[in-house]
């Protein structure tokens, strides 16, 4: 089964509307929660008038921030950086449009919304700061008292010559690289803000049962086990008292690796009021109150010889973190610097990170979380180098690749790349695209006056997170595999899939491991009472780490089952094979017993009226395993885009998109392709049509899908996909992870294609997104 293109088992219920999302959860006596939110970007609350809301029939409670603060503490983060006080509901100062200022509980979702709308807040309006670099001047707004010039992190250096603690910095190597260089390319690039835009917005149902002193929380989350911990701590409860359930999750994209203010308030209120409460985010709120992604400015300098060998690189990041740090915010840029080496053997790299508060929605993880930014800055920089040296962009890459015999390869940034063959991926992409022929076609088209351009990008990302040393949550994953007495298999995973297809891929693995049909296997996830331990699904880890845990648990139970089988059929356990629903002596399929017979025996180990437990085994067939990976994984690939720009309108059209991805061993290539399609759609979206924008006073200008574009299927070309296979040694599956890959290579190769198409107008870089008007201005002699 492993390696086969099996359709996702979860899809029929999802596409037939038979799945259960948070909003489908109904509990007797349940009431509804809504939040009144700030409509200004910065201001002190003078007063809040809740009287009209309180007077409405059906309204149970109206609470201001000060009242909420009596039972909900500051919103925690888990990065080791200083962070300002962040209240779930504002106590005195609002810092972005959409921040909650009051909360209402009512018997009905419509009443609660009417009541929230009836709350009147009087503000002392303060100046807002929206531009990240302007915010670093401390003018015209200072968001948090203890963070001068709005600097959450003033400057953290890393890379060549920097001690691991960042305290000692030796510039010798990096200075020499630039002194020795024949050419230097330098560019400021903006990797702009995006709204994650899950089709299912967030939602939380909390049910505190006073009689049991227990809380159940249903949430549209990627990390139910982490949420359980946060909810327990915030409510002075133990993890034994809280059960977190992620039912179907309609898209996460990193924005649901979070315990949000609304989760804490809904849970806290449920406990306080002793009733079940539901809050469902609406689309307008999702644009304002769900974390955004990206929003990073990169200053890149690349020093190289005239033959195209890169001698050194500097990358200075300025991250727009919005009004507050949320759970992982401060750490996202560290993934960018960690991956600054990209696929290249660069002898000297210096990176710095500065993080800045602005009067905007907080940013946090979004599909790729820091790695697409790294890929974008470095690959665009290399493309500029190739252009400056008049070299083929493929040749510049080839000249600098880390070679297959250099793995494991320790980068200047301290990452240890597990395995790779970058030349193979590049060559395959060049071959599949017909690169040399494409270049001729591009030249011909340009000679005819058409604005056709070609772009190429390599990527490597850090996935399969990761050893527990790199994640403050722990980096392992957990699984329990149970052979039931009828021979059916129940298995759990702590990775909480929400579109990754693990109900299919994990069943494929077990079907092979036990020689039983796929439909005899059920994979359970997303409920802390069922999947007892877990970290969650993010960082392209569910297969590489969760799958490995499942494999280990399956191996343990198989070993035990073999002992029972050996006892039953009087053979040696090492001679047994699990095939076609039977366990039998290798080469003698008729010798054995059916899988179900052996399972039954394990639960009722009685032979001839007497208990017969082989080797003193306990009865039953249920084993669990934690898998702690020895390293992250580093999947990679090469993407190529052919793009045409309409000379009259500036509209860009993707003509071809060729991708070669290497995610190690593939369990289900069909699902892998689906993951790549999704990632590509979001990368292409960023490059071409998606952008969160604000007015100068901090009002969101892209607050609905009327103004914020996400790609429709018809906006995308037919993807030409292929893969190379370089297994990882860090887990028993050799699988690396693929969920985010598509967002990495796509943005730089599309922008490079646009620059290629417009190079005749003297342009060397264009910031995303490729707005037609921006391209039209370049064509008509304006600046990019």
């Amino acid at each position: 089964m492993v390696g086969q293109r099996i359709k996702r088992r979860e899809d029929p219920r999802l596409i037939q509307g038979r799945a259960t999302y948070v909003d489908d959860i109904k509990i007797v006596g349940m009431e509804h929660v809504a939040f009144a939110r700030s409509d200004i970007a910065h201001g002190r609350i003078r007063s809040i008038d809740t009287s009209a809301a309180e007077a409405m029939a059906g309204v149970t409670a109206v609470l201001t921030g000060a009242q909420v603060a009596e039972f909900v503490g500051p919103v925690p983060i888990i990065t080791p950086f200083p962070s300002p006080d962040h209240r779930a509901v504002v106590v005195d100062t609002v810092r972005y449009v959409g921040e909650a200022v009051a909360v209402v509980v009512a018997t009905d979702r419509y009443i609660v919304k009417d009541a929230a709308d009836a709350i009147v807040v009087d503000y002392d309006v303060l100046p807002a700061v929206v531009d990240t670099e302007q915010a670093m001047t401390g003018q015209p707004a200072q968001l948090h008292a203890d963070f001068e010039n709005n600097l959450a992190i003033a400057l953290v250096p890393s890379g060549t010559g920097v001690s691991p603690d960042g305290q000692t910095v030796d510039d010798t190597a990096i200075d020499k690289a630039f002194a020795d260089a024949d050419v230097v390319v330098s560019q400021r690039m903006v990797n702009h803000r995006l709204a994650p835009s899950a089709i299912e917005p967030r939602g939380t149902v909390a049910h505190y049962e006073p009689g049991h002193d227990k809380m159940t929380i249903w949430s549209s989350t990627q990390v139910p086990h982490l949420l359980r911990g946060f909810i327990a701590r915030m409510n002075d409860m133990g993890e034994d008292q809280v059960r977190a359930i992620a039912p179907e999750v309609g898209g996460g994209f990193g924005a649901k690796i979070q315990a949000y203010p609304e989760d804490y308030v809904v849970a806290g209120l449920s406990k306080k009021l002793g009733i079940a409460l539901k809050w469902i985010e609406d689309r307008s709120e999702a644009f304002l109150a769900t974390t955004h992604g990206r929003g990073v400015i990169g200053y890149i300098d690349i020093a190289a010889t005239k033959a195209g060998k890169v001698l050194g690189m500097k990358l200075r990041l300025i991250a727009d973190i919005g009004a507050y740090n949320t759970l992982f915010t401060a750490a996202i840029p560290t993934f960018t610097t960690l991956m600054a080496n990209a696929t290249y053997d660069i002898p000297a790299i210096r990176t710095t990170i500065t993080e800045v508060f602005t009067n905007k929605t907080p940013t946090d993880a979004y599909r790729g979380a820091g790695r697409p930014e790294a890929t974008y800055f470095v690959e665009r920089g290399l493309d500029m180098l190739a252009r400056k040296l008049d070299m083929d962009p493929a040749d510049v890459r080839r000249r600098n690749f880390i070679q297959p015999d250099q793995f494991p390869y320790t980068t200047q940034m301290g990452a240890v790349y597990d395995s790779g063959d970058y030349t193979a991926a590049l060559d395959r992409a060049l071959q599949n695209s017909g690169w040399d022929k494409l270049k001729v076609e591009r030249d011909q088209a340009q000679a005819e006056g058409r604005l056709v351009g070609l772009g190429l990008a390599m990527y490597v990302e850090v996935c399969g997170l990761g050893p527990s040393a790199v994640l403050p949550t722990g980096g392992w994953e957990h699984s329990q595999v149970t052979i039931e007495r009828d021979g059916r298999i129940n298995a759990t995973t702590g990775a909480s899939p929400h579109g990754q297809g693990n109900e299919t891929t994990f069943a494929q693995m077990l079907a092979d491991q036990f020689g039983v049909p796929l439909d005899h296997i059920t994979i359970h996830h997303g409920d802390t009472a069922v999947a007892k331990q877990g970290i969650g699904t993010f960082g392209s880890r569910s297969q590489a780490v969760g799958g490995a845990a499942l494999h280990l648990a399956g191996g343990k139970v198989k070993k035990k089952m073999a002992k029972f089988a050996a006892s039953l059929i009087e053979a040696h356990e090492d001679d047994l094979v699990f095939e076609n629903g039977r366990i039998s002596v290798k080469g003698a399929p008729d010798s054995g017993k059916s899988f179900a017979e052996v399972a039954s025996y394990a639960y009722v180990p009685v032979v001839g009226g007497a208990v017969q437990l082989p080797d003193g085994l306990e009865p039953g067939l249920s084993e669990e395993a934690f898998f702690e990976p020895s390293n992250n994984t580093y999947p990679f690939g090469c993407h190529i885009a052919l793009l045409e720009i309409d000379r009259e309108t500036g509209e860009p059209t993707l003509l071809r998109f060729v991708a070669v991805d290497d995610a190690g061993n593939l369990i289900n290539p069909l699902i892998v392709e689906g993951q790549i399609h999704g990632g590509l759609a979001q990368g292409i979206g960023q490059a071409m049509i998606e952008e969160v924008r604000y007015s100068e006073d901090g009002q969101p200008l892209t607050g609905s899908f009327m103004d914020y574009a996400i790609p429709r299927a018809a906006d995308l070309p037919r993807f030409e996909l292929d893969s190379t296979v370089t297994p990882t040694p860090v887990n028993p599956l050799g699988a690396k992870g693929v969920g985010e890959a598509g967002t990495l290579g796509s943005t730089p190769c599309i922008v490079s294609a646009a620059v290629d198409a417009l190079s005749q107008f003297g342009v060397t870089h264009i910031d995303m997104m490729l707005r037609p008007e921006k391209l039209w201005q370049i064509i008509n002699g304006g600046q990019s």
């Binding site: 419509y110 009417d114 709308d117 309108t649 574009a709 018809a714 037609p772 008007e773």
Partner: protein, 287 residues
């Protein structure tokens, strides 16, 4: 994103709809596909007390031949306009325009009458209604009324439609040599600029041209300078290119927003006028 409370009634005939509307005073609204109204209600920018559903009134939807003219019922959804064989054969520009609206979900719910009544400044239909010189057929308790498209669109979200009137249909003489060209706003798929052009050609001469523009100003307008420049000329690519240069030069208050500045929009008007006119030329019978 949750509307305020409202009552819902379903009308069984146009007269029934008008009576039900009258019963609400001035506080009710007709709803068909709801693709303009419901978003406004969700943002609470429009809070009708009663919705009167006209989507299932018999005869209000459909494309038919009426004595050589084409009549499209106000309740016809965009998809049915886009795929109407009558329109595709006799007046393809109308079908073509409908096919550019929104996405399949929108086209299967939104209606012609709803789009015209709402009169979004970037809606597609108004441009083509001007180009085919459609009559907008209205009805109220006072009786029927017919308004030419060129008088119907008056201002931002404002049309010649009394609060107690309903649009029943549009009617136009079919014109083959007509086309619609549009610069898409990528999120909404409304027109940043949309131009519909129709040519009346006889004996190798353009007898008259009608060119409708949407997206650029507060409501759809005719590009009369282009129309005049084409009248009496030969239907050639050079002639239309020259005429298209005049498109929009006299427009005031051209819109600018995050998707397109005023400068860019202005520059796009002649580009899409030329594309629409070229499209119309391509539909002239081959000589």
């Amino acid at each position: 994103m949750i509307p305020s409370a409202f009552e819902y009634e379903r009308a069984t005939s146009v007269d029934d709809a008008l009576a039900k509307l009258a019963a609400t005073g001035a506080t009710g609204k007709f709803i068909a596909g709801g693709h303009s109204l419901v978003p406004l209600m969700k943002f609470r920018l429009n809070e009708p007390t009663t919705l009167i559903d006209i989507a299932r009134i018999p005869g209000l939807a459909g494309v038919r031949d009426v004595d050589g003219a084409i009549e499209v019922g106000a309740g016809t959804v965009h998809h049915d306009v886009a795929t109407s064989s009558l329109l595709r054969q006799q007046c393809p520009v109308v079908a073509e325009t409908a096919g550019t609206i929104g996405d399949p979900q929108v086209r299967n719910r939104g209606t012609l009458g709803g789009s015209l009544a709402h009169a979004d400044p970037a809606a597609d239909y108004p441009a083509v209604m001007l180009a085919v010189d459609a009559e907008i057929h209205l009805r109220s308790s006072r009786g029927p009324r017919v308004v030419p498209a060129s008088d119907f669109f008056q201002d931002l979200f404002t049309v010649d439609l009394a609060p107690d009137e309903i649009i029943t249909a549009v009617r136009f003489a079919p014109v083959r040599a007509a086309a619609y060209a549009k610069l898409y706003q990528r999120a909404s798929r409304f027109a940043i600029v949309g131009v519909a052009a129709a040519l009346d050609v006889a004996d190798g001469v353009i007898r008259s041209a009608r060119v409708g523009l949407t997206g650029a100003v507060s409501h759809a307008v005719r590009l009369t300078a282009v129309e005049e420049a084409l009248a009496g000329r030969q239907p050639t690519s050079e002639v239309v290119a020259e005429a298209a240069q005049l498109a929009g030069s006299d427009l005031e208050d051209v819109a600018g927003d995050i998707h397109a500045s005023e400068t860019y929009r202005r520059a796009m008007v002649p580009v899409f006028a030329k594309r629409a006119l070229d499209g119309a030329l391509a539909r002239l019978p081959q000589r």
